[in-house]
Symmetry: C2
Subunit: 349 residues, 2 copies
């Protein structure tokens, strides 16, 4: 049977003997059966604690259907964004005695479906999902048929009824573009994620809308779309800097993209903000401790997790219509931005 | 029953009809029973895939005792150290089709025991533990009685038989102290974690041993021991800098301690390395992108996770004597260290 407790672990009989009740009574207490007074329940619970008895909870949960656990699926466990969200979720579950179990989809839509199914097989009461890809048909079909409560984090999946936590990327990006234009920047570049998840779509759309509203064209090649990775951030930044007429300001639309951008600026000795003004995502150790400190589009990442857990606990308690919680973004100004006085052209040194 | 699949999900009968075999045969395939040829097994598996059939794996695992999942318990999910280890574990489990589920102990020894028991109740085949506290008697007793395979990450728990991955902190710390002394630093400070986990003990011991070997006294108040947190790092750095005769060099013994130290150095305008030479843990975005880049005691954090998973998979396969894998540390020299020419005393500006 591969029981997961010690060879000498006590059984039902030991608990019954210790509490001075029948084995059937102990069984009823464990399984939440009828005809058990509060006094007997407390007595049996005390004996279970005293002996270190572990009811076979897996079997019990098959009967009761409740596990008091919530699954959180992330696309990259090593991404600080998701680990901060995870802490927010876990902290918010604590008062309700729920436990979070986290699984990693390795940014692979096929594996994403596997880990979601794995968690469901281990029976979680609800799921929070930071999906790697909203567009996978297999995943969409699976989620659409699921009855387990779901919270989608900054994702929109067609046909799937789920609570959502959505980040208001547009406000932060619009503020950044407006501020840079006020400072004389007419050549602003953007590096951001693919359209297969909401942040990539929203950041790009907000960037384009802000330019359209100002009646300002975006120079060709100034929007670079790719993976939310350091490698892509570095590659895109290097490509932008090599253009005959490079941007005078840059928005890095992702925390890992930002690390790649900062590496390239450091390596190439680009002077910030004299040669390039920079606005980045998110407010991390790297953006704060870089010299100069980097202006950021910030959002309360921990609150994303807390909000997701609150939505899920609400739904587990009551059900009701699907809800959407919105997380604001703010532009935090630091030393990485300056007015642009020079003419566009190869970097001045 | 609170089944966690769609209302329209196919059942055993549907799979049997699709495959053209009996329900009993499907059941034998699912449960690994006898009298099933490879051809029939493949046929049934293909039908299960085609129909999206989900065997009730929880019930199945009660019979077979195997879950192909591994639990990883961390003390702080938001710590990049643990999330990088988690990625190492998960990646190493992938070829064997194991899934990692991660749970967070919130640095609380009582909750640590709770989450371990929670994972065991959900039936994991093995556990990897980054314990918050090695000294909790309740946890020690529980782990000592456990038959589930365990891997302890850089932890030593008395009386607990487990595979271990141990980091060789001593080599890195000894190299750092020796290098700083070679550069004329006789006043080297240390900020590190509590003695309740192995890294804190090892780093402190190596620091003291390196001084003893050089016949050099450690000035009073130069060793600061506390939480592995940014807050403690900042507080300890501020306290060291305020001493009448402050250190001329500092070793920050933890990645989160380091972030706190860097914040204080930045805030107080301490010039590195002119006023203070710095060696930090670990090689992170913050230490790399700080100006100047920070010399670090580095280890392959991802390899800690990979090694842990390899030990656990080995044990699940074969058993055998407990094993210890060792992860080396190396001193990486960057711009944050310089020779000390001045006399000790209040910071020169």
């Amino acid at each position: 049977m591969g029981r997961t407790r010690a060879a000498s672990a006590p059984g039902l009989k030991d608990v019954a003997a210790h509490a001075g009740v029948s084995v059937a009574t102990v069984s009823r207490v464990i399984n939440g059966g009828p005809y058990v007074t509060e006094r007997v329940r407390a007595l049996v619970a005390a004996s279970m604690d005293a002996l270190g008895y572990e009811p076979h909870a897996l079997a019990r949960s098959l009967r009761t259907g409740e596990t008091r656990s919530v699954g959180y699926v992330v696309s990259d466990i090593a991404n600080a964004l998701f680990s901060t969200i995870a802490r927010g979720i876990d902290d918010a579950l604590q008062p309700q005695s729920y436990t979070m179990v986290l699984a990693n989809s390795r940014s692979d839509p096929a594996h994403e479906l596997d880990v979601i199914r794995h968690l469901l097989r281990r029976r979680v009461d609800g799921l929070v999902l930071s999906l790697a890809d909203e567009t996978s048909p297999a995943l969409r079909d699976f989620l659409a048929g699921l009855r387990t409560p779901l919270v989608l984090l900054d994702r929109e999946v067609e046909g799937v009824l789920a609570d959502q936590v959505l980040v208001d990327h547009a406000a932060g990006v619009a503020a950044a573009v407006a501020h840079l234009r006020d400072l004389g920047h007419t050549r602003v570049g953007l590096i951001t994620g693919e359209a297969s998840t909401r942040p990539g779509r929203e950041i790009r759309r907000a960037f384009e809308d802000a330019h359209a509203a100002a009646g300002a064209p975006i120079p060709g090649g100034f929007v670079r779309v790719g993976a939310l990775s350091e490698a892509f951030g570095a590659q895109a930044a290097a490509a932008l800097l090599q253009m005959p007429e490079p941007p005078t300001a840059l928005i890095a639309g992702g925390a890992q993209i930002t690390v790649g951008v900062l590496r390239v600026l450091r390596r190439q000795g680009v002077r910030v903000p004299e040669e390039l003004s920079l606005v980045a995502y998110d407010d991390t150790d790297a953006t704060e401790l870089f010299s100069p400190s980097v202006s950021v589009i910030a959002r309360d990442i921990y609150a994303i997790g807390q909000t997701a857990a609150a939505l899920l606990l609400d739904r587990l308690g009551s059900g009701g219509a699907q809800r959407v919680a919105r997380i604001p973004t703010a532009l935090i100004l630091r030393g990485s931005i300056a007015a642009w006085g020079g003419s566009p052209g190869p970097l001045l040194t």
